[in-house]
Amino acid sequence: MRAASYIRVVVLLAISLVVAGPTAAQQAETDAEQAAIGQRFKRHMSGVESCLICHGSYNIVAQRGAVRNESLWINPDRFLESTHARFGCHACHTNIDPFGHRLAEGAAVAEPPSQEAASPGTEATAEAGAGAPAKPAGRQALEGKVGERIKRTDAMLACGNCHLEEYRLYKDTVHGVAVLQGGNIEPPFCTDCHGWHYVLPAEDERALTNPANIPRTCQNCHGQAEIKRRYGLTKNVAETFEHSFHSRRGELGSEAVAVCTSCHGWHDIYAADDPRSRVNTTHVSQTCGECHQGAQLNFAAAFTHGEVSRTELVGVYAVTQTHKWLIVLIIGPLVAIVLLDIFQAIRRRKAVQHE
């Protein structure tokens, strides 16, 4: 019975093959189907789905290591919508052992190749030496700090595996130097501005790097008194920006609007006194000139994060203080006289009524 049915199937298949023949359309269909299956398989193997079985469903809380007491829950909807979902979990979490499922000790994330190594001529040597990548001093120092949030730098190196150009720009900047060479884990890197699991392209309104959200993203640090004090940052960047036409135009819904990054740069932010900085006097008129044709150095000085006070921007301070007093001294008496006239009117009406 079993053998008979098996033979029947084989015969039927043979007949159908002979009769119909593999047409081009059918071939394409099966190819597409196979590709889809392949994709799904890959995605499954890369862990998006299998990882989310746990991490998307349960509020797993880490109980050991650097991330103790932190929730490991991933919002599956937000994650699958994010830019990186298609690459799977392991594209970034390179050091997670999918079987033992714990941080494989000693197996640090792959170091992104250095600038020299990435150039075509030295590719072979880079590959040869990949077994033992040289670690920068700062990074070694970081790895020594048990219990600190090493995962942040790990993440950065993971980003650099694909986003090499951005990583190279970043590592020399004021933020990058502090992190990589200073061994400080507080200054921002990739994930502080772009987010962790829910990275979206800058064009997306919800992205942390969308121009409309950039000021808030930067203010996560530059708007906090404690951080500003600790690193000696310019005090009133948030306030002065909010009072500027740049910010107000944005709030009113204008699309052509300058935010922090428009002047200070994206992956190439340097301290203002660094000649490489876009807002350094060597470049600033060029930076302003991107929007304001014919901008001179004088023009650039018009937009400053300086405080209007007795010590800073004294000219502006004098003019505005004078005007404030002018308002008080003029409007006060004018309103007083109006009020007097109203009282007079009431009093006179009462007097008439008495008569």
Partner: protein, 271 residues
């Protein structure tokens, strides 16, 4: 006095005052039983100037305020209705030019009046105003029974005029600085732009408060004119009001007319 003669006198007032201060016997059109005399207070040029100024002022206030309060929902709805911040920006600049035009018109008018032989500007402060101001304050405080005897313009009107001139000049100047910052910074340091933005803001606040709290009270809400004094449209003022508000000017007009009448009489007598 015929009507033609009186109107020609209006246009070419020889009272020695810059603004037309000669009164004339224009028969009142109103339904008043007894034909009451009306006086021309503002001529057509002055009315057009005031209209341009008022129109541009209100428009500039409406289109400028959103930039000061961008976070309000009302602001956003308003901006969206007008077609976005760019459109509102263009309207604001055009209205600014209208305001500047009103200012230029006024200066040309002053020059023209001067060349016609008018000397002295009656709306400027003079030494009598201090006494009148003190008397007015006494009246407001109830220490004085009657209104002070004002001339053509009382101290409040003079102050409004001064404020308007100062305000328009300042707003047009700082507005142009903000409009053309690249050109301005070819000559001036950058903080001039920063200061101009702030001054433009403060002066708008000052002007807005002065107009809405003080000027609108006197020309709209005040019990004597409520709901609105029509003088800015008709330019006319009744004899009664003239006697009450501007008694000195009224007397001057009466005196001048009496002298002119005597002159005319003496002309007739001498062949």
């Amino acid at each position: 006095m015929s009507e033609e003669r009186s109107s020609s006198q209006l246009a070419d007032s020889g009272s020695g005052a810059l603004a037309v201060s000669t009164a004339s016997a224009v028969p009142q059109q109103a339904v008043a039983a007894a034909p009451q005399r009306v006086f021309l207070r503002f001529n057509i040029h002055q009315r057009i100037q005031h209209f341009l100024l008022a129109f541009s002022f209100l428009g500039l206030m409406i289109t400028g305020m959103p930039l000061r309060f961008p976070e309000l929902t009302v602001t956003r709805i308003f901006i969206a209705l007008l077609g976005g911040p760019e459109v509102v920006g263009i309207i604001h600049r055009v209205l600014g030019l209208v305001m500047a035009a009103a200012g230029v018109y006024h200066v040309i008018y002053l020059v023209a009046m001067y060349r016609k032989g008018h000397r002295g500007i009656p709306i400027l402060f003079n030494r009598e105003d201090l006494g009148l101001f003190i008397d007015d304050m006494k009246y407001f405080l109830g220490l004085r029974k009657e209104l002070p005897r004002f001339g053509r313009y009382n101290w409040r009107e003079k102050f409004d005029y001064f404020g308007a001139c100062f305000g328009v000049a300042l707003m047009v100047a700082t507005g142009l600085v903000i409009w053309f910052p690249q050109i301005v910074t070819l000559v001036f340091p950058g903080w001039v732009i920063t200061a101009s933005v702030l001054v433009h803001e403060y002066e708008a606040l000052l002007a807005g408060l002065a107009i809405f709290l003080s000027h609108f009270y006197w020309v709209h809400l005040n019990r004597e004119v409520y709901p609105m004094s029509l003088v800015w449209l008709t330019g006319q003022m009744s004899e009664e009001e003239m006697k009450l508000r501007h008694p000195r000017e009224y007397e001057e007009i009466m005196e001048r007319e009496r002298q002119e009448g005597e002159q005319a009489a003496s002309m007739e007598e001498t062949p």
